[in-house]
Symmetry: C2
Subunit: 313 residues, 2 copies
């Protein structure tokens, strides 16, 4: 865990086999496609990757599969959060040992309204028990899902206690003012703040943030990556408008199954459709409606079919 993660990071979806286990071959094939199409990195087993719908063993197996497939782990962060300290430690240790560039850590997400001190102890115990100098932790602020926020005060305490380990944040509150306040408060000390989607990408970069970690980058990697590279130009501004339009279409559906539906559709591989409970697949009616809207924007996924054909063999 030594390279700095930066730029456009896709929160990659996890393919499933017929038993509902992670389909490592298909997942790794999508990873190759996304990195080949311009993503600077991947966030494996995040919310979009349905991490919490798998057991620790399933998560560790998939992490190992990414390593075994020769994925560039110095560009990959992996979600290692769990409701229990013991699970978070086991997953985070595995990530550090394999050589992932970063561990994206949810707060413990069962109890609500917990004190800051309790969250501080949780993250402290993970950092201390993993005890690996290579560990780089990204704090995962996603109150619409976890319902447990990461406050400025908590970031401040953790950075003071573990200046090398606490590397940054994924801010998925979908509130640019909040993200900016985190950048303004902590970027100067090397704390890398990623927006939780690409909508404020140019603002993020111009304000001193580290980029975005995006679910939509599963289907729109090239143009989001291009927006990042051209952020200071009028062309970049124009691209930002178009990628936001694509994101806007996707937000009209349940995001995770909708993204998998798109990968299945544009990749001609129906095996990508399933999700684990409590999520439910996008139905055909909604799916066709969504594809029609994407078609209107001139949206395509060139090269995905070939990439998926390799994995399906």
């Amino acid at each position: 865990m030594s390279e700095k993660l930066r730029g456009v990071i896709a929160a990659i979806a996890t393919a499933l086999d017929e038993e509902g286990e992670p389909d490592c071959a298909r997942s790794v094939a999508l990873a190759r496609f996304l990195l080949g199409d311009g993503c600077d990195g991947l966030n494996v087993l995040g919310t979009t990757g349905e991490a919490t719908s798998f057991s620790c063993e399933q998560r560790k197996c998939l992490m190992t599969a990414y390593r075994d497939a020769g994925s560039p782990l110095d560009c990959l962060m992996v979600g290692t959060g769990a409701a229990s300290v013991a699970d978070a430690v086991a997953l985070t240790r595995h990530a550090a040992e394999l050589g992932f560039a970063g561990a994206l850590l949810l707060p413990p997400f069962y109890y609500k309204g917990v004190p800051e001190e309790g969250l501080f102890r949780f993250f402290s115990e993970v950092v201390q028990r993993v005890g690996d100098a290579r560990l780089r932790v990204y704090l995962y602020h996603i109150p619409p899902v976890s319902a447990v926020p990461i406050t400025h005060k908590l970031v401040e305490r953790l950075m003071k206690a573990y200046p090398k380990q606490i590397a940054g944040m994924k801010d998925s509150a979908d509130d640019w003012a909040h993200t900016k306040s985190m950048i303004d408060a902590f970027a100067k000390d090397g704390f890398d703040v990623f927006s939780g989607n690409e909508k404020p990408l140019i603002d993020n970069i111009k304000s001193g943030g580290a980029g975005c970690i995006s679910a939509t980058a599963n289907i729109n990697p090239g143009k989001i990556a291009e927006t990042y590279k051209k952020y200071a130009t009028p062309e970049g501004e124009k691209l930002q408008g178009w990628i936001n339009d694509v994101r806007g279409v996707m937000q009209g559906y349940v995001m995770i199954p909708a993204l998998k539906y798109c990968v299945a559709h544009y990749g001609s591989d129906a095996a990508w459709t399933p999700v684990r409970p409590p999520l439910v697949e996008t139905d055909e009616k909604a799916g066709k409606d969504m594809i029609a809207k994407l078609d209107k924007l001139g949206f395509t996924m060139p090269g995905l079919k070939q990439a998926m054909a390799v994995a399906a063999e």
Copy 2:
């Protein structure tokens, strides 16, 4: 899993050793005390038992310890919920194999706003993959914590699909009107609805419910059990008022650490105080304040000190 659970069930707290692992000896000693003091049953590893703060292995070990200590498993339900189907299956299977009377199953609690169909699939997959005719599932409705409700429609679908396995519900919404609506809709078909605390105990019994599963029963087992036995008498009504006063004091503090503080205090065993992150122990100031209020109500825990002395050896 054959006996009908009924009456006053304590949602037993889990003691911790110095490493933060479940302290089986102390936990089992409290179980003996609670059953000896009048509880009809126990709910092991529920929210009060900090289940989700432990790994699957830690939970399975503690479940086995209750069995090995000779606990009357036909009076014990155990929390086997998890965010992932795989974990919920492993825990629920272990519960059925050991012979626990019931499994209290949370909905998957990471994703929010999920469709009923997704929750139906989650519970279905657990029932089907455990595949044990002895399995009795209690659905755990606790929206203030899980933020994922169990609706009437979901109960109806699950009862229709698995009439033998779906045994009842713990309703911890803290809303008597909601509990009554569940009793009115499903009790006639043998669905046992427990209130999530003792405040509406007499109303629950008179309306055809199965009793209560209560955190406060960790410290007030005898009087709550007596209220249940005398529910149809004026003495029962009077007792209901007093146990509600005790509950009222406890609700002024963070419930789980406050209960452990009381067990430590009245049991003269400071080892009971710790909680796992993200919870934090009750501090001395709040603790003394709480004990003073309980003293005013004439509250005591006779016999606890002797029960704890055995475990501390």
